[in-house]
């Protein structure tokens, strides 16, 4: 599972909707009066996929029925609903939709950023299966959808497949509003579920590198026009869907199966269940296995794992690669401090550097043996990333104390008004925006809606100066209710991270140069 932040639903008051319906829908109401009063079952299923099963059906039916008939841009905002009306000749003349469909993805600096995806540049949609993990929440794996986004409209099939950094993953997840997942809430439906988006490489990083899980990507055999329609419809679900996430009876696989029944009718037969009981409980791994054998998927392409890995349809866990890297270093180092790669981080970064500096033969080998240099870089970088995650853990615990915010704004505790303002601008408000950022919109946002969705740096530029940083550090250390010890853990983790990053720089200087693009 992955997580986002909870938000309320943006919805017009009912009286305005009724007025709109009356004003816009009267011209066509006569011909469809019977339909307008009673939501057909097919519409009900579609509406549940677009908005969630708990969304009021009758209201939605009246609203959409009226708007579909009268609003030119309706199909762009509600492509899934629009399909139903278009199939029955009830759709108003369609205005051309913008080229891109926005999806809100996590962003390192802004919390959330809009990724505009041109459906015409999506070559394929895959069913993505993240293999079983060690945690209890990932015992049966995870399923999602992967959009294979091409670099440009004229790109070749191979170029599209290789464009991994722009591929997108859409999956039903629980929106966790705390630091940890509460199993009881997860079982009882205490978390809201949405169709969240993330970069494919972000998903790969979490699964294959941090959790050592393999990933399988099963292409859906759909023609280009269907792929484009599917991308638009997924956009509507992404911005509106909300339901109660339940680990057993309404998990990522359940919701995805229900969505695919409507979004990809070609899969309906493969997704049918013989009984209500079977329908109620769906496991991600079993859903994947069933669809792998479906006629509307290209399961045969995953039969040869090695070829699938070359084609970007299978991504193996990276654990064996790290183990190989550790073994290569064991043979080259004079005084290794580890036997297995997980033990590599046992030695703090400055001491690792000291060991390298004292090992002249190792340094010579690093300069001459590119593979050894890669191995060393892998382990050091992995350790740096783990340190960053540990730092985040410490910091999350530190800032999670509500008494801290109160103290930081208390005039007695912080007499300097300027410092209190600095704390508010640079710490408290960014933290608050972190907790409240979650993408919601009435239908697919159009380009003019983008500014209202937020975005931009969380932390103002003026907060980067040295003086505010020191003042904030001193104040935090003094005022935290847990005392200095917890703060010292945060500082220690940050210092270790900085030292690890310096180690990476030292390795780069001594090995074969590994250049990276500086752009984000």
């Amino acid at each position: 599972m992955s997580a986002a932040r909870p938000v309320g639903r943006a919805r017009a008051p009912w009286h305005r909707r009724l007025a709109a319906a009356l004003a816009l829908g009267c011209a066509t109401a006569g011909a469809a009066t019977a339909e307008a009063d009673t939501p057909p079952p097919a519409f009900a299923a579609l509406h549940a996929v677009a908005r969630g099963p708990a969304a009021p059906l009758a209201d939605g039916w009246r609203e959409h029925h009226a708007r579909a008939a009268a609003e030119p841009g309706y199909a762009c905002r509600h492509p899934l609903h629009a399909r139903w009306f278009a199939d029955r000749g009830l759709l108003a003349d369609r205005a051309p939709c913008p080229a891109g469909v926005p999806f809100a993805v996590p962003h390192a600096e802004h919390g959330s950023a809009l990724r505009w995806v041109d459906p015409a540049q999506v070559r394929a949609v895959h069913l993505l299966f993240g293999g079983r993990g060690d945690g209890w929440a990932s015992r049966f794996g995870h399923v999602a959808l992967r959009l294979v986004v091409c670099p440009r409209a004229t790109a070749s099939e191979r170029e599209c497949d290789e464009n991994l950094r722009e591929h997108l993953v859409l999956g039903f997840v629980a929106v966790v509003d705390g630091l940890e997942i509460d199993p009881l809430r997860g079982l009882a439906g205490g978390y809201t579920a949405t169709l969240a988006a993330q970069d494919f490489m972000q998903a790969y990083r979490e699964y294959a590198i941090h959790e050592f899980r393999e990933i399988r990507s099963l292409p859906l055999a759909l023609p280009p026009a269907r792929v484009q329609q599917l991308v638009r419809e997924l956009g509507e679900v992404h911005w509106q869907y909300a339901d109660e996430y339940r680990f057993l009876t309404n998990n990522c696989a359940t919701m995805l199966r229900n969505a695919l029944r409507v979004l990809v009718p070609e899969l309906a037969a493969d997704l049918a269940e013989p009984t209500d009981e079977a329908d109620a409980v769906v496991r991600p791994d079993l859903l994947y296995e069933r669809l792998r054998g479906a006629a509307t998927t290209a399961g045969a392409r995953l039969a040869d794992e090695a070829q699938a890995e070359r084609d970007g349809l299978y991504f193996s866990s990276t654990r064996p690669f790290f183990e190989q890297a550790a073994d290569a270093l064991l043979l080259a180092m004079r005084e290794p401090w580890f036997v297995r790669f997980e033990q590599y981080a046992a030695l703090p970064a400055p001491q690792r550097l000291a060991r390298w500096q004292a090992d002249a033969p190792l340094q010579r080998q690093l300069g001459a043996n590119a593979r050894l240099q890669q191995a060393q870089m892998m382990l050091e970088q992995w350790t740096v990333v783990q340190t960053a995650r540990a730092l985040m853990t410490q910091a999350a615990l530190y800032f999670d104390d509500p008494r801290l915010a109160a103290r930081l704004q208390d005039a007695e505790a912080v007499p300097d008004a300027g410092l209190r303002a600095l704390i508010a601008d640079c710490l408290l408000q960014p933290m608050q925006r972190l907790r409240s950022r979650a993408p919601r919109h009435a239908g697919v946002p159009q380009p003019g809606d983008a500014p209202a969705l937020g975005g931009g740096p969380l932390v103002p530029a003026q907060c980067q100066a040295a003086l505010p940083r020191q003042a904030l550090a001193d104040t935090l250390a003094r005022l935290h209710p847990a005392g200095r010890e917890r703060w010292q853990q945060v500082v220690r983790a940050a210092e270790e991270l900085a030292a690890g990053i310096d180690n990476v720089a030292w390795l780069r200087a001594r090995g074969a140069p590994v250049q990276l693009s500086a752009s984000r």
Partner: protein, 352 residues
Amino acid sequence: MNPNKSRAAAAASLLVLALPAWADSVIRLRCDDDADGALVYVNEQPRGQCPADVTVPPGTVRLRVVKPVGSSQERVWEKSVLVSDGTATRQEVVLSAPRLTAAAAQAAAKAVQDAAARGDIRAMDELASRHDRGDGVAQDAALAAQWRARAEAARAAQTEAKANAGDATAMLEMASRHDEGKGVPRDAAAAAGWRAKVEAQKAQKVLADAQRGDAAAMKDLASRFDKGLGVPVDAAQAARWRREAADSERRKANADRRAELLKKKQDTKISVFISDWPGWITKDKDVNSTTMTLGFLYSPLFTVLELVTTAPSKSTDLYRINKELDSLPAAFGKPDSMMATLHRREQDAGAR
């Protein structure tokens, strides 16, 4: 039946018939082949050789038949017999195994006494036994005990000499002797002193082994420093040797692993290993990292933290490291994979 013996029996019968009723009795001494020719004594008086018919007065007579063996030994048959008036009886003589003559026994006892007096421990033990039995010396329990005590003390002195020379077994024996008061005074402190010397000696050996790199010896030495066994109690030394033991074991594990790898091919499947190494970044028990919300991990909290902990440029470096790490493992382990292709493309773009 031996024809000679039947003729002798007939003769004895006739002899009895010839004796007057109030005369001495007759004892016929019948000797086996071994005793043939042995000297016969009646009441210490010589009466010929075996076999013999001896006349004796009524009453108790002491019969003795002796056959010398060599110069200092003899074979003897002795018996006291109650003889009635005018009777004829027969005695079967069977000689004993050779034994010292009285004179020889006395000389032997003297030799033992002299040896014991000179400090011969075995002679002391034997003299004590002779005094128990009255064998060549006076039967005297007190003297026997005295000689036993002197023997034990002499043994203790020998053991002490060995112990002082460094014999650990002797040291332990001295401790035991002092516990029991065996050859030395009963003395708990002295016993403890000998045991301490044993531990000190062991500790020296363990130290030597530890200094040669023996991890088991290092652990033993650490334990000794904890408990003050053969060395002073010293927590710092104990900690030091415990660390040395851990390092030694780790080096050995590394060396074993190295040897194992050198035998294997690079593409051998490596089994999963769950680490039990206490890395410092995993020590926090407050949060179960496997359930930590990913959204929070991906949040720009780090950007906020940057303000108060590290230099601003570190976030850029961290971004680069994350980006490179995305594809580097696959490039290392699966060079023909799609992810490795991404890595090469990005490296080429960076190089340009």
